[in-house]
Symmetry: C2
Subunit: 555 residues, 2 copies
């Protein structure tokens, strides 16, 4: 099979204005970035809402607990949307923007793969429309303002030991995780401990993805808690008076990016927050706009269902006023065997027993999703090494309808059955979607509910740090705030080594963070890596550009 | 008078395709960024060169030694180009891209001012086409690769005390000048001293601005010296094998940005290197392309004539094969009075004597420029506080033709006389342009020549550090390399306090840096600030965005 970029280059792209036209978007609402990418003015959303336009159905794509390599949620989302178009439905896929960190690190490109890609992949993977750079800059303007404020007299009395706001960069760079800034004498300010996050982990990214418009974005940015002051308590961005400039830096980033799939169907690729310390889905603006422009919107939530889908169903959808019509749970034989106890290196060997054993993981996720009242269909992502006996075992043991999916190798042709299954469910099995976690519960009760109902823990404990942070949160009015739990993506539990379907274990909250701009409290369970590192031989050494400006070696 | 952004908003912009059309650029060579900004494929330059198209005349705009507020080189360049169009010449202005550091710091926007601006100013000032972010990312990919290499076994034997390559950010952030990275234990690599430059000071920026095409850019990036190894000597980017990925990140940044002036005349705004540790002019690709598309190209060199013009005339023009037809030297009554000994706060008061005294500074710059065989015209930038007696004093004492220039308040109407003077000179006074510093002289002789002939020093001395670096340079084959001198912009000398026309002083080189990718050795005279800081009340607190997405408070 050809490489992703070779397949991408052989595709015939349509002018993006044609794609926009097919959705009824007037040309004056577009800002072109070349012939194949356009931003759609976010104010167009309000316009359509005021017209009372009918919303399409929302299909959430999530996955079972993956192997470290990932099981193809993005390719499935793209392929499903292409297939829905193929069977006569107007469908848009909405995705997150790829971060440069993984592009140069282990993963390579992140715009789908094989015959299920969004294009132009080399642009989407490299800078795209500059949204992530805008978020990085907006983030670092706040950082620079904090140190400038401290340097010029520190009127707010910021405690330099309690600056919560780190710096950000869209790069895998472990050397920046923990640093000391302000060295070299008084001209350079006050030395203090600091560190960089990868931009996907920035609260600015989460905030941008949840904001409804510029005014809301600016208000949210103003609320962001950046530090503590002994005399003034929590210090926020609005105390520095810079929320306007930060929002100004996001003037274009707030507008959804319209691109196309390899089969010329529409796609919004917009925003890219982490699914552990943030909510893990593309911007609400893009999803809401897509819903007003199509019959079906296929959207992807980051990591496995216990992380991305839980956050989407309990927090993102209620925040954006979204109704979820169906959930597609992506599974793979490889991942099932992994949960069945097979070592990573042995996953290509047939092992029906292991598949059946690993189905416990799938069953937990299905059960969890059903607690939200949403219909679930399993999409079994076919890999070359899968055998018919293994596939049959999945089919026989799946608690809900299960369809084999071959979008990577076949594009929409590989997902026709999946599209039909989704259509059948969406048309004939009304969703009773309702969040599991009420918005107004106290923080501990929210955590209890998620840990026991979704993560299947027996008991929740708090470290001393977590307890004291929690009492600080309560004192500052965050006691009933929405909760986002940050934990490993490699297990349903808080321990990456607990594969398959752990239960009854002790779930530990070790700390809290406030994301008052994004609008949630983060409960940290386990060590969460917010700045990845480059491997010994990173993808960067294979990426190249030829004399004609064509990108080579991007997978 | 209205603010810059108010004036900008009242302008009627033309579709950028119309501007391109007026220059004969075919639409398929454009990549649009909305309706008013386009990138022109850099390969179009080669095409025009192969067609043997006739080149226009090149006018270099430089200035006398300025007051810290600057004397209006950019507005003069834009206004002159608009006025040349007004008198029937096809003229393009080529400028550097504004850095976000000054936008949020002291200066505000940097796309001209008053009735002499390039538009859309809010886009040009905020992210523009993402070139500077691409340079930042390209720079930091190298940084991340260095620390990853050290972390994963350090096969090259990089001495962590001798990593020359710092990190970069497009922000005024003094706390990042001197930092320690890699703290927090072995998972985060090896602790070492480091620091951030503002992106304009990155060698990637200088390299991009000097490269002739992608192949040349990639070759140059590979040559960049990043560190020293005891066993392997100088370590370069190509030793990490990442020049391809770094160049890939610059795939769009290499293409010139076409915009328009407030009077709808064409402008290329492309690249933005410092004029102290780098050469201080927009990309060679943009200037060369502009020369093949027009009768006159007006280009601006950073800082005063001793910095920007010297570098342009001795290094940039020979590197790019450019011929300089005339030089416009921008002066202001304020700056002349400053050199005449008047305090900054008193510059608005009439003082003819001080003006006459300060003319010494202007005369040195004129004399210097004449050493290059180029015709010089003085453009006296009129400010509101200037009196007729002061203006007359300048006219009477100017060693060359001097024209009053009012582009800020009047647009092209304020520069008609200047345009006519430039036309007259360019048509009737053939330039005998020739570099003053031969390309193949030893480094010390080059420094001697520039220090004595341009800076008017009596003697050049080297610190011990400089001497040992110089012998290292010679050992590594840089003994006859081009030299870029980094020194203060506030004096002709190396001492910012020496105003007007210092001479016979001792000029001290304190260190050297190698910019092997850009293709020069930097001789550092005095402390050069490569990462500015934010003032107590930065411009950022006045910048805002309203609900319609319009930017407010950008000057």
């Amino acid at each position: 099979m050809l490489s992703d970029i070779e397949i991408a280059k052989s595709a015939k792209l349509k002018d993006i204005r044609q794609i926009a036209f097919s959705l009824g978007i007037p040309e004056e609402r577009l800002k072109l970035y070349g012939n194949y990418i356009a931003k759609v003015d976010h104010k167009y959303l309000k316009e359509l809402e005021q017209q009372g336009k009918k919303k399409g159905k929302l299909i959430l794509v999530t996955a079972i607990t993956p192997t470290p390599a990932g099981e193809g949620k993005t390719t499935t989302s793209i392929g499903l949307s292409m297939a829905l178009n193929k069977i006569g439905k107007k469908s848009i896929v909405t995705l997150r923007e790829p971060s440069l960190g993984p592009v140069f690190g282990v993963k390579g490109g992140a715009a789908g793969g094989g015959y299920s890609q969004v294009l132009p992949m080399e642009d989407i993977n490299l800078h795209f429309t500059g949204d992530i750079h805008a978020v990085t800059t907006a983030h670092n303007l706040i950082s620079a303002m904090i140190d400038a404020h401290i340097n010029h007299g520190n009127e707010l009395g910021i405690d330099i030991r309690k600056v919560y706001w780190k710096r950000a960069m869209d790069m895998n760079d472990r050397a920046l995780r923990q640093i000391v800034v302000g060295l070299g004498g008084s001209a350079n300010g006050y030395p203090r401990e600091d560190g960089f996050l990868i931009t996907a982990a920035s609260e600015i990214m989460a905030t941008l993805c949840l904001a409804s418009d510029i005014a809301d974005l600016k208000r949210r940015i103003g609320e962001i808690v950046i530090a503590q002051s002994e005399k003034k308590g929590l210090i926020r961005v609005k105390d520095l008076g810079v929320q306007g400039a930060v929002a100004a830096l996001l003037k274009d980033a707030i507008n959804p990016n319209l691109v196309q799939t390899i089969e010329n169907t529409p796609a919004f690729v917009h925003g890219g927050p982490f699914a552990n310390i943030a909510h893990g889905t593309n911007t609400l603006i893009a999803t809401k706009l897509a819903l007003l422009l199509s019959d079906y919107v296929v959207t992807e939530a980051g990591f496995a269902a216990d992380l991305g889908a839980q956050k989407f169903l309990d927090f993102v959808a209620p925040t954006g006023g979204l109704f979820v019509d169906a959930v597609v749970l992506v599974a793979s034989i490889r991942a099932l065997k992994y949960h069945g106890g097979i070592a990573k290196e042995e996953l290509s060997k047939e092992d029906v027993e292991a598949v059946i054993k690993g189905m416990e993981n799938l069953k937990v996720h299905v059960e969890n999703l059903q607690k939200y009242g949403v219909p679930v269909v399993v999409a079994l992502n076919k890999f070359e090494s899968d055998t018919q006996a293994e596939i049959d075992a999945v089919m026989e043991n799946s608690p809900v309808k299960c369809v084999v999916n071959e979008v990577y190798a076949k594009g929409s042709e590989g997902a026709i059955e999946l599209a039909k299954a989704v259509e059948e469910i969406a048309e004939n099995t009304p969703s009773n979607y309702k969040p599991l976690v009420p918005m107004d519960l106290p923080v501990e009760q929210k955590i209890e509910l998620i840990a026991k109902e979704i993560y299947r823990a027996g008991k929740v404990t708090y470290t001393e740090t977590a307890k004291s942070k929690l009492s600080m949160l309560k004192k500052n009015g965050f006691g009933n705030y929405p909760v986002i739990i940050a934990k490993t993506q490699n297990s349903i539990s808080d321990d990456p080594k607990k594969i398959n379907a752990p239960k009854g274990y002790e779930f530990t909250i070790r700390d809290f963070q406030i994301s008052a701009g994004a609008g949630f409290v983060v409960a940290l369970a386990g060590e969460i890596m917010l700045m990845p590192g480059l491997p010994k031989v990173p993808a960067a050494v294979n990426i190249d550009i030829n004399e004609n400006g064509e990108i080579i070696g991007l997978f």
